[in-house]
């Protein structure tokens, strides 16, 4: 059947989840005429699993997305119902913000933003094919045979692509949350030579709040002071809801164990690989059989719904078993399940087939993001969506790709991990994946990234001005604090009150702040009227920079060392088979990944230090041959 040509765009985004939304917004904000397509517009920024944004590592990603001019931080600030800063007992590098979201509000607010965004069209349509000619993508075809052309395409299909839901022995093709799956597109992508594989994830049941007995559970409150995700916000209001903690018990485990054979997971029906950090309850009971109980959090799905999310209890057991084991849990005895737990399997690519710009290696102008790339999580998806949007925009205007280093952002770590090392399970960010954790903090994401984003035309004037204001305020105050000094008699009483030892000689305010017991707010009482007004973000930055100066410097030196390797560039069209001295395994890996630098090559598993030396020698040889000409 003939395609009906319906229009031409600069960039087309397939999918409207967390990756798709960021990609479409970034593209249109960078001045490109953009179309975002989704099987169902109700799926815009849908949260088909847990009703929360952020957490360890993930909170860092949200701050970075925000610093770059993305939407996720602002959107959760509009729709949060409870906020908590995790890890506050530890150092500032691992403080992580997490917010419970009102899912519906999150979806609606994002939809509003997209509707109001100039240059951006959205359309409910199922994309069934991508048009490729001479190795270049140039358009998409929908189920209804309409065709749209574009200079670049971004694939962000999430769990829709050949999605298959498993509940007990039942298995059927479906997108998340009962939405239609995308079947034809998967076929056509395979035909175009894209190697697809199967990953799996799962979600627990939803139940009605009215059916739970809260007297048997422990309430979980948010922080007294609600801290916003977005650097653009200061006050975003109060917490609006409670979460609840309860535990599984022997009886729960017995019911689950007796029904292992009825689980789709153990029955062998599921071929996809699931994430280890997100195991189903049957998996937990099986693998950690000595554990007497597993905790679960009961979290509201929103303020306008009675539905609750049972965190910690995803399952692919049949519904009767689900009812039976949920009922064994304290507080859940009379549970009324309104959506059963399920496992979902979907198609995704091997991210080692991507470039660091997220462009597919063998199909030009085709960019990929989110779960389609083998990651997991809303934040990981949004981060890639944003970067794919940026890089597609840069590509079609003939500019160099925007690649963040591992020393610059968690986003850099995430994408480098995926593309360079690959992944065998849905990939989740963790702070321990970042080797420069001390400088990649959530408090300084704007200082690290906003200027870069402003330069490529994404971060707004308003955001840039705010960043400059913060940077200068902090720098100025740092100088003032180190110049303002006190005699012992002026501060010793204050120090005693703070629970720290007195001083013998003059001491600067900056040095006082180095002490863990002394906060910037505390020092107000001894400070004078030259003290400026600083907002929350500025104060946090100031304190971290003073208190952790030594560690930060040490890490910066490490970065400097590694940078030398990152600066040695490798050509993307290098044929590694032709380089003498490389081992076969290294040749295969290098040919697949096509690293952009010696630094990136050194992170590929299967490439040894000796191989790196061979590459160095090769580079020098080439350099000299070229200089002869």
């Amino acid at each position: 059947m003939e395609h009906i040509f319906m229009g031409e765009y600069d960039i087309i985004v397939i999918g409207a989840g967390h990756a798709g939304c960021e990609a479409a917004l970034a593209s249109s904000r960078m001045g490109n005429k953009t179309l975002m397509l989704s099987i169902n517009l109700e799926a815009i920024a849908m949260m088909p699993c847990n009703p929360s944004i952020g957490g360890t590592g993930k909170g860092h990603l949200v701050r970075e997305i925000d610093a770059l001019g993305g939407e996720m931080g602002k959107n959760i600030d509009k729709s949060f119902i409870q906020v908590k800063m995790l890890n506050t007992a530890k150092g500032p590098a691992v403080h992580s913000l997490r917010a419970q979201a009102d899912k519906n509000k999150y979806h609606l607010e994002m939809k509003k933003t997209i509707e109001a965004q100039p240059n951006l069209d959205m359309l409910q349509a199922e994309v069934v094919d991508i048009l490729v000619e001479n190795g270049k993508a140039y358009g998409v075809v929908t189920k209804t045979h309409t065709m749209y052309k574009a200079k670049a395409i971004i694939l962000a299909t999430g769990t829709f692509l050949r999605g298959k839901i498993f509940i007990g022995s039942s298995a059927y093709y479906s997108g998340p949350n009962g939405l239609a799956p995308s079947m034809e597109l998967a076929e056509n992508l395979s035909e175009k030579g894209m190697k697809l594989r199967r990953f799996k994830t799962g979600t627990p049941a939803r139940c009605l709040a009215q059916s739970l007995d809260y007297s048997k559970m422990t309430p979980q409150r948010g922080d007294e002071k609600v801290i916003p995700f977005s650097f653009m916000n200061e006050e975003i209001g109060e917490n609006k809801a409670l979460c609840w903690l309860t535990y599984t018990n022997d009886e729960t485990h017995r019911v689950i164990r007796e029904n292992f054979h009825r689980s789709a997971l153990f029955g062998g029906q599921i071929e996809g690989i699931g994430p280890r950090y997100c195991p189903s309850i049957e998996d937990k009971v099986n693998r950690f059989s000595d554990k007497e109980r597993h905790q679960l959090f009961i979290e509201p799905e929103g303020l306008d719904t009675d539905e609750m999310y049972i965190q910690g209890m995803s399952s692919s057991l049949p519904e009767d078993v689900q009812h039976a084991f949920y009922k064994t849990i304290e507080g859940l005895e009379n549970i009324r399940i309104v959506r059963p737990a399920y496992a979902i399997e979907y198609d995704c690519i091997d991210p080692q087939d991507l470039k660091l710009s997220l462009e597919y290696r063998t199909i030009e102008n085709l960019f990929c993001a989110g779960q389609f790339n083998g990651s997991s999580g809303y934040e990981e998806a949004a981060a890639q969506g944003l970067m794919a949007g940026i890089n597609a925009s840069l590509k079609i205007s003939g500019q160099n790709p925007f690649i963040l280093g591992r020393n610059e952002a968690y986003i850099g770590v995430l994408i480098d991990d995926l593309v360079t090392k690959g992944t065998n399970e849905p990939y989740r960010i963790m702070t321990s994946r970042a080797e420069y954790r001390l400088i990649l903090r959530q408090d300084n994401a704007d200082l690290r990234l906003t200027e870069k984003s402003y330069k490529i035309g994404l971060a707004s004037e308003e955001r840039y001005a705010k960043f400059i204001e913060k940077k200068e305020a902090v720098e100025k105050e740092l100088i003032r604090l180190s110049e303002k000094t006190f005699a012992p008699k002026e501060v010793n009483e204050f120090l005693e009150n703070c629970g720290t030892s007195p001083v013998e000689g003059r001491i600067s305010l900056a040095d006082l702040l180095k002490r863990p017991q002394v906060t910037y707010a505390d020092t107000r009482v001894i400070d004078d009227d030259t003290r400026p007004y600083l907002d929350y973000h500025q104060i946090t930055q100031l304190e971290v920079q003073i208190k952790y100066e030594g560690y930060i410097e040490k890490q910066l030196k490490q970065v400097e060392r590694q940078k030398k390797l990152e600066d040695k560039k490798l050509r993307e069209d290098l044929e590694y088979d032709l380089i003498d001295g490389l081992r076969l395994e290294a040749i295969q890996k290098l040919n697949q990944v096509k690293p952009l630098s010696i630094g990136q090559a050194s992170r590929i598993s299967g490439v040894s230090p000796a191989d790196i030396n061979v590459l160095l020698v090769y580079l020098e040889k080439k350099r000299r041959e070229n200089s002869k000409i």
Partner: protein, 482 residues
């Protein structure tokens, strides 16, 4: 990478009379200046003097000579340990300023006596002063990367990298199949436990897992530190077992030095007479005491003399004396202590010394209390060598000294490789740093850096990378997730 200064022994270890330690990189000259002194009569007389103020003078002297080290001139002098003041060897050194050198970087070559002991001592010292041990083929690699070698040699360079690294791998495997590898893996296992706990506490603060306590961290890290330190201490033992214990016998003429040597050798080798000065040359013998290889030197009696031949002998004695692991100082039970004895006592201060009071079959005249007073740390053994009294006890003492109390041959762990020792030192430091942070209650993510560093360092001995280890273990051991 390239700005790191590297060093290695450039000659093959073994028989050669001259050995070369090569240093390449920006710090090369700096390092030489720190440890080198021109030949100088005044200094030569101070050779065994290690008092602290002398050490200060020494370094001041070196400072003032900085400008005198000219490029491309072979210079003669001594290498001193700038940390202890110990004289290490008499050397020729040359400084070649980059790019006019093999690697096109600043290069220093120190030519010393070919013995493994002095080569390794000098190398260790250079490493202590900031150089990193060169990888196999690294000088050649740098030479190429810096444009020194012809393009046609590129393939040869690659072969070198390939061949050497493969060979190193085999050698390393051979060395590591034993207990050292197992021991290091055990230590790494303990570090993994610690790292996994730190990681899970940082990345999963909400999970129902045991919170890490600083008491436990302290205990675990101390255990790791102890294990690493035991391995580090076994280095000395390991080296001795591989290369032999260098023993220097010292004493006034005719106290029984040659007799002792013969008793240990169980054959007549040195000329034994009653005439002082009979031993005119240093006599070096290799023997084995209870399985420990020993290179024993019977030194000519150290005394002032006009006899030219004897003078040479005396010089050699001093040299053997300076490089000895153990000094056996023999005294005559039947004579009073005199100036020459006190001179020796002065010289062996701070050294690993064993005092033998010989000729106990004769009437006691010597003042033992005085010796104990002057050498409070030395062990004193009473023997009658000619009557074979106390030889067994002496052998036992030597054995105990070599093994210390911590390591025993056969079941002990021997670190014999300078590279391994260097890495163990660095790992030990990293763990010590993390311990300080635990004690001062620093946040987990700060101390994790040093723990992780120790883990990576040890991994480089056994050839295992970190890649994914910790995160895999986190998920294998803890039940995490929604």
């Amino acid at each position: 990478m390239r700005d790191e200064t590297i060093a290695a022994i450039a000659t093959s270890l073994g028989e050669g009379g001259i050995g070369i330690v090569r240093i390449s990189g920006d710090e090369a000259l700096n390092i030489l200046e720190k440890i080198f002194d021109y030949f100088n009569k005044d200094l030569k007389n101070k050779t065994v003097d290690k008092s602290v103020d002398k050490l200060d003078n020494l370094s001041k002297d070196s400072m003032s000579r900085k400008a005198e080290i000219q490029a491309n001139k072979l210079i003669y002098g001594h290498i001193y340990d700038n940390f202890t003041g110990e004289l290490i060897d008499e050397v020729m050194a040359v400084y070649m300023k980059g790019p006019h050198s093999y690697t096109a970087e600043d290069v220093v070559e120190i030519q010393c006596h070919g013995s493994i002991v002095s080569l390794k001592k000098i190398l260790s010292l250079v490493l202590k002063n900031g150089a990193r041990l060169a990888e196999n083929g690294e000088f050649t690699k740098r030479a190429f990367l810096n444009g020194r070698l012809d393009l046609s040699q590129a393939e040869a360079v690659i072969d070198l990298i390939r061949a050497k690294s493969d060979r190193t791998f085999t050698v390393a495997l051979g060395q590591l199949e034993g207990k050292l590898s197992k021991k290091i893996k055990d230590i790494r296992g303990k570090l993994v436990d610690i790292l996994v706990n730190i990681t899970v506490n940082i990345d999963y603060p909400d999970e129902d897992i045991e919170e890490i306590t600083y008491d436990k961290l302290l205990k675990d890290l101390e255990a790791v530190k102890f294990s690493i330190d035991s391995l580090r201490e076994s280095f000395q033992t390991g080296r001795i077992l591989k290369e032999g214990l260098r023993v220097s016998i010292i004493g006034k003429p005719n106290v029984g030095k040659s007799s002792l040597m013969n008793a240990l050798l169980k054959e007549e080798r040195a000329i034994v007479t009653d005439i002082p000065g009979t031993t005119r040359d240093t006599i070096e013998e290799s023997l084995s005491v209870r399985g420990i290889p020993i290179i024993i030197t019977d030194t000519a009696g150290i005394r002032e003399t006009d006899d030219v031949i004897e003078k040479i002998g005396i010089e050699k004695s001093k040299e053997a004396f300076n490089s000895a692991d153990l000094i056996i100082f023999i005294l005559d039970n039947s004579k009073t202590l005199e100036e020459a004895d006190f001179d020796i006592i002065e010289k062996i201060q701070g050294r690993n010394a064993l005092v033998l009071v010989n000729k106990t079959d004769l009437e006691r005249v010597i003042d033992l209390k005085e010796i104990e007073k002057r050498l409070p740390k030395a062990e004193i053994l009473e023997v009658a060598i000619s009557k074979e009294v106390g030889i067994k006890e002496l052998e036992e003492k030597i054995e105990a000294l070599v093994y210390g109390c911590k390591v025993k041959a056969g079941e002990g762990l021997m670190v014999t490789n300078v590279r391994h020792k260097e890495i163990l030192d660095l790992a030990g430091e990293a763990v010590a740093d993390s311990l300080v942070m635990v004690q001062s209650g620093e946040a987990l993510e700060f101390l994790e850096i040093d723990v992780n560093r120790a883990y990576e360092l040890l991994g480089s001995i056994v050839g295992e990378t970190v890649e994914g280890d910790i995160i895999d273990q986190v998920f294998a051991r803890f039940c995490l997730g929604k």
